[in-house]
Symmetry: none
Subunit: 205 residues, 4 copies
Amino acid sequence: MPAPRAVKRPRPHKSDVTRHKILDASAKLFREQGFSATTLRQIASRAKIKAGSVYYYFDSKSQILDEVLKIGIKVVFEAVEKAVDALPETATGRTRLEAAVAAHLHTLLRYSDYTSANIRIFGQVPRTSQNRNRAIRRTYAEYWNGLLQYAKDRGEIGPDADLSLVRLFLLGSVNWSVEWYDPKKKSTEFLAKKFCNILFEGIGG
Amino acid sequence: MPAPRAVKRPRPHKSDVTRHKILDASAKLFREQGFSATTLRQIASRAKIKAGSVYYYFDSKSQILDEVLKIGIKVVFEAVEKAVDALPETATGRTRLEAAVAAHLHTLLRYSDYTSANIRIFGQVPRTSQNRNRAIRRTYAEYWNGLLQYAKDRGEIGPDADLSLVRLFLLGSVNWSVEWYDPKKKSTEFLAKKFCNILFEGIGG
Amino acid sequence: MPAPRAVKRPRPHKSDVTRHKILDASAKLFREQGFSATTLRQIASRAKIKAGSVYYYFDSKSQILDEVLKIGIKVVFEAVEKAVDALPETATGRTRLEAAVAAHLHTLLRYSDYTSANIRIFGQVPRTSQNRNRAIRRTYAEYWNGLLQYAKDRGEIGPDADLSLVRLFLLGSVNWSVEWYDPKKKSTEFLAKKFCNILFEGIGG
Amino acid sequence: MPAPRAVKRPRPHKSDVTRHKILDASAKLFREQGFSATTLRQIASRAKIKAGSVYYYFDSKSQILDEVLKIGIKVVFEAVEKAVDALPETATGRTRLEAAVAAHLHTLLRYSDYTSANIRIFGQVPRTSQNRNRAIRRTYAEYWNGLLQYAKDRGEIGPDADLSLVRLFLLGSVNWSVEWYDPKKKSTEFLAKKFCNILFEGIGG
DNA sequence: AATGAATGAGCGTTCATTCAT
DNA sequence: TATGAATGAACGCTCATTCAT
């Protein structure tokens, strides 16, 4: 997850600002209503411009979608990487996983409409858009596999575990939280801890 | 969750058949494309009738949605209950949970477009329709809480576990499988077993 | 205006009854909403049958319209003729006119939905239906011309009066009352008297 | 009834022109066929735009109706007021009434599709639209009452006359002319004169 | 850089009508 | 005699998109 956008364009043009407003508005609306229930006019209205102006920045509604989907993964990927990298080299595999889960959850539930939009709508979006998002998703999945492999190599995960399945199991729980999470009740850090506890120790009495 | 439809109407009218075809077509399409990307004409075409005829059976597209959502929970609820009830009285809490997970997964992934449609689209559907589906969803959630409580009471689940959170964690993983499951790779029974193993024993080495 | 229906069919078949119910329902609805805003299903529902059954009695919606329009004039024509014929031979032209106005008003405002429907909707109905109603309307107009001519011949109407224009003026006022008449405020007899007073004596001080 | 639109917007936008074309087309079609028999596509076609474009200017078909109905009364009101105001202060009540009738008739029969549409369709239009038109209709009726009262105060109308009834009688005749008037046969001025003669002197021999 | 105006395609829905039963 | 089921055409309306300004 390299190449922060800011390197390319140190001082954002006005156009960059508007472009961002369109994307922000779209992410929020896609997340709330889904892609096809969201109209260009809703997007434009939230971005405080007129519908026609959107086409100065994007060729089509599905180009906006592609960008939103891409940013959604990019943002969560960067956050997770950053959280793991911030750990001391001596950190255990489990500590790393906990940091990753916490960062993923925080991004998904508190920070980024792009990520939550991606997680929520991916399955209902036109297949062509899904396909365009698949490469980056795969890279992100590989990163998690790496995290799990690291722990397994160090004996923190039992030798019989099917890591792909574990990843699916863990990220399933985690992503599904977008459907029920209420920020007034629990913090994302608390949740991350609990999820990792269950994952590692199980609930058996 | 009893009441098999067949008892009420032993010989279905022609109209019942068409009504069912409409619902089946809708469930499949909603599941694939989401609610608002699905058109009445697509539904009609899959049901092999003309678009106008749909209105002989339903007042509106969202009435179809309501019915699809309702059936989606009803069907999985009935399947899970039936699977658990089929167990001997002596079955452990964990066995019951495993049977429940297997039945839920099978219904969701192999059997019912209604259930998978519900799980997939609920979050992107108009709030009014969500609300109309909430009562039965709550009942279903209560049933799972009961299953977990049973295991906890018998000491199969540790005394500190927050059962609501466990349910969310477990059903999250399970429901999320709708996004990645490939019937050619693993059976739902295998998956159920694995999920329960992770849940109870954890992956710790 | 001869041929009372009962002569042709002394004992009405059941079908005659239903046919009548359809016509009654149509007249009422056409009068209230106009022709094209009235649906076959509304008609059927008021007649307590199903929409398809209407076609056992009529070939099309506009055939119903034709019949309603025809009956509308027939009924008021018969009522007016009867009222005039009931007068003694010695009755003056003005008395005859007053009786005619009273009968027309009563039929239009209190008695027949067919007549009020005709008066209200004629101008907005397809030209073909208008044309089919024109013959009987002309006959009715001639009858009024006769009434006026009778009065003029006897010197009750000034020799310079253009009778066609007088008829238009009088029947205009009278027919327009369908737009404002409130049965709780004035009787049709009172109105007829007033109208004739204005027509004959004017309002000049 | 003053307020010439032109003062507000000296140079009409292109949009104003199209808006007007839509209203003109609607008034003409409503007048000819009634409200509900008139389709958006007919309106658009007469306005030389596409059906969808109508919605750039109006929210709904019934908003067009409301505007047409309002303009219909506004226009005839303004014309009548202007005609009466053009008379010398010394003009008699009868002269004023004659001018008013002439202006009303001319607007209704020769000048404004809005006014003739209003007069013809009001009774068959949805009640909600009727109600929205009622305020301005009432104001117009009051104006006529004022005209009649003026004549009565000066002794030109007999002291026993019920002015509301007289107004209904007169305007009934006048409005009804929309159903039979043929511009090739008589001028509206001629008709106005005749109507007032009958009204004031009656036809008595 | 942004918009007002317009469009074409298609949407959910209605409705007169048909017809086997 | 009447209806349940279905249809085809059209309706009011929405929407992504275009483009001159």
